[in-house]
Point group: C2
Chain length 190, copies 2
DNA sequence: TATAAAATTAAGCACGTGCTTAATTTGTGG
DNA sequence: CCACAAATTAAGCACGTGCTTAATTTTATA
């Protein structure tokens, strides 16, 4: 990898940190540059403007959060289990994954006046990705009945809450996934 | 109530909206003033600076989120049930409660360089308020065992997730509380 | 080693910000 | 109706911001 790509990657990493810490508006391009140990001019050599930095991070995040609906619909409960398992494993082993995870949640609730960002946000809305899967799971009787929308919000909220704690205090132990899955299952406990 | 108090209350209401929408740094005092239909000079007549507006909102929020630990410790499971019930009722009937609820969550994850705000944030940390209650509940066997910290994060995260959806899309129906409580209970299902 | 390209910096412009200040309007009791 | 206080505004200062531009350093290659 050439020097330019490496620098760009580093700048994105630093930007992610600052965005999480201070939000979009609270983050100044000067601070990103300062923390990365470069001039702010260099930052604008690699990115055309502040929004485009944000946008690139969101794109990376969208890619990481995307679920395979086709597979998911075939075995909703199993897929959710696998996904949670995967998220928790990454939270434990890869700190920058946790940061991205929290970032993507914050992003959902921040207004940035940019058409492209706005439309990306819609495609990122994890909740609306999962709702059809939950619905299918309910139809099959794998999940307990009830409003799928708020059911979904509760599940994702729980995962988010856990991730946020993990990012704030990395030593926080993660809960048993079986426990989390029990929340959702219709079936009896052993 | 005299005219001044009413204006101040109105300004706080507007400020809450903008803070939720754009975060602390993204919010300009000019915008708060503009949305309230007054000059920015007036805003600074009622509040000494931007931080103090934020601070007053946090203080109101802290008061609303505070739990009565003494009572809670006497009947952890029952108290959690009552609290959730109360939160859900308010989410349904009082839109500004939902806003405040979401605001208080956002606040936790935003860095504002102010000693007073920082210490208030610690006292607001809903998670650390609930942990001893959860622990006591586990000791009594009312709640299922496991790490109380992440258990707590999951519960509060779920409630947050639901509240956020409710604020974003007010028509979202709320889930059954019994269902949420089932997540936590150690006991058997009927 | 000479030269073109890539990486990087320093300086600065236009603008929006938080906040102040002095002046003006509005409201109220005697 | 007047005087005084409270409510409100308009103008503006100092500063941090996003971003540009021209110049300089570093790197790679022939």
């Amino acid at each position: 990898m050439d020097k330019g790509d490496e620098r760009k990657k580093q700048l994105l990493q630093v930007a992610l940190d600052v965005f999480i810490e201070k939000g979009y508006y609270g983050t100044s391009t000067r601070e990103i540059a300062r923390r990365a140990g470069v001039s702010s001019g260099l930052l604008f050599h690699y990115f055309s403007n502040k929004e485009s930095i944000y946008l690139e991070l969101i794109k990376i995040g969208v890619e990481e959060m995307k679920i395979d609906t086709e597979i998911a619909m075939k075995a909703p409960c199993e897929y959710l289990f696998q996904t949670m398992n995967n998220i928790f494993e990454q939270l434990e082993s890869n700190p920058s994954f946790g940061k991205m995870f929290v970032f993507m949640d914050n992003v959902q609730y921040t207004t940035v006046n940019d058409k492209e960002i706005e439309s990306l946000l819609k495609s990122t809305d994890i909740c609306s990705q999962w709702i059809p899967v939950i619905l299918e799971g309910q139809r099959r009787g794998e999940f307990r009945a009830g409003n799928s929308h708020s059911l979904c919000a509760a599940i994702l909220g729980a995962v988010q809450g856990i991730a946020q704690e993990k990012v704030r205090i990395p030593s926080t132990p993660l809960p048993e996934i079986d426990w989390l899955m029990d929340i959702l299952r219709k079936g009896e406990r052993k």
